[in-house]
Amino acid sequence: MPEIRVEYQEELQALEASALGGLDLVTSALTRTLEAVEHQDIELAQIVVADDDRIDGRYLEVHQALITLLATQSPVATDLRLISALLHVLKNIERMGDQCVNICKVIPMSGHEPPADAEMVKLILAMGAHTKSLISQAKHAFEERNVEMARDLVARDDVVDELNRDCFRLALAIGDDADKREWAMTMLLTARAIERIGDNAVDIGEQVAFVVTGLFREFEDASHPDPHA
């Protein structure tokens, strides 16, 4: 049977690649963000903030093209679920980019010579590294339509959540020094933002399950915590 609707299929594939390419933009933003945090590099932070326009631009461009496909090609079944999932994923990507911006914006607050607590910095960097691999796993799970890999994101994200709690405990015990306490607060904001990036990666995993199974289910819901945790 000769192939039909080839252009439409190719366009959909290209849009998927473009949407998931946004995750590469996020990973590079996060890498530079973590570097800026580690070295208190305000200039690098400013570059990340400015570059977020690229992530927003990717969101708008792919979003528009997907809406056009909906209007003109009457997609159904898997194609339709894929388009719906990509619209969600684009939003997740845009939020992840914004969280990097949030982190970069608090760096100048701690001044050029902050009283860094090495332990805290280590935790933040560990959270960041772990979250980067979560993003990579989410991307592969989507590309491969691998639901198991997607579900595994929940357990991996639990590690990030645990590290976030460790940051919190550390901050509580930071001591009486005002500067140190202020620095610790900005570190908590940073940890929180990284934790949110991780949650967005899990959301992408949920979209993988939707594309494959046609069922939309939250893997794990904050309002219904896992009784076995």
């Binding site: 192939e3 609707r5 159904v76 079944a77 199974t213």
Partner: protein, 307 residues
């Protein structure tokens, strides 16, 4: 004309006629009209529970050629079931077996049973003419009787009633049917004019009025909008949405989006290859067929990955 067998009316064994001829045969052989008291009186009648049409192990043949095999499906009451599938897959052949029109083709035969609320329409002693009244059909090419007036077109089935109907009763049925077909307002001042003077969409609605005038249980529609422009098509789809409140409806359509818009359930027919019998691949609620079909074959067809 009451109870006369179709064969007698046609004389020699029937050949597959043009759509128009078959349409005329369907209606001119209409049996006695059931008394209208079984329906709510008056115009804008509220919903009535319709009957279920059930196909069991239906196999259809043209001579030796096995055209459709082993269809088991339920056409649910007060719902629209769309039959989709590529050309030659047997959906129209199957549709025409539901009201015993398949056998009008020379050499065409049926195995299995088609039950209307449990009564086999192929049962011994069943009058096929009566079947075709209870299970009416609307065709792709609108086929109003060209020289008859709009009024007489609608009343055509009634005119063959053994007992005379009073004019006032006939007027009421004609108005009810035209209103039910969303045509009354457009034609009420020219009921005496010929049916052929109407637009394509109006003619099709006239044919629907004609079919409903004899109080059927089921309406079968064979690509009813294929010959119509997009606006007329949407008007008929709206009408079908109304008609299902009173009737059970099955519609063959080539237009995927129409099936998606206008039906409650969708049945997908396919052929493995040319020369093989068509068969039912999958049937289910339309929203499921178009969002997460169970079979890959169905998915490929509705997504347009094969014609």
């Amino acid at each position: 004309m009451e109870g006369r067998k179709l064969k007698d009316m046609l004389g020699s064994e029937s050949k597959p006629g043009t759509e128009a001829e078959e349409g005329r045969n369907t209606m001119s052989q209409a049996g006695p009209v059931t008394e209208t008291s079984s329906r709510p009186e008056g115009v804008g009648a509220p919903a009535r529970p319709a009957k279920t049409l059930e196909a069991k192990e239906v196999n259809l043949y043209y001579g030796d050629f096995h055209a459709v095999e082993n269809v088991n499906m339920t056409i649910e009451p007060n719902k629209v079931t769309a039959l989709i599938g590529s050309s030659g897959c047997g959906k129209t052949t199957f549709l025409r077996s539901l009201n015993r029109m398949h056998e009008l083709t020379r050499g065409a035969t049926v195995k299995g049973s088609i039950q209307l609320d449990g009564e086999d329409v192929y049962g011994g002693g069943v009058d096929p003419v009566a079947v075709r009244r209870l299970i009416g059909m609307v065709f792709q090419q609108p086929n109003p009787f060209p020289t008859m007036s709009i009024y007489d077109n609608v009343a055509a089935g009634l005119n063959f009633n053994a007992g005379k109907i009073k004019k006032s009763a006939k007027d009421e049925i004609v108005e009810r049917s035209l209103r039910g077909a969303h045509l009354w307002d457009e034609v009420k001042d020219r009921l005496g004019r010929p049916g052929s003077g109407l637009s394509g969409g109006q003619q099709q609605r006239l044919c629907i009025a004609r079919a409903t005038a004899v109080s059927p249980e089921v309406l079968l529609m064979d690509e009813p909008c294929s010959a119509l422009d997009p606006v007329a098509t949407l008007a008929i789809e709206d009408l079908i949405g109304e008609l299902k409140k009173e009737y059970t409806i099955a519609i063959v359509t080539h237009n995927m989006q129409q099936a998606a818009r206008a039906s409650d359930n969708t049945a997908f027919f396919n052929l493995d290859e040319s020369g093989k019998p068509g068969h039912l691949v999958e049937i289910g609620p339309t929203d499921e067929i178009f969002t997460k079909p169970k079979k890959k074959e169905t998915e490929d067809y509705v997504s347009g990955r094969f014609g």
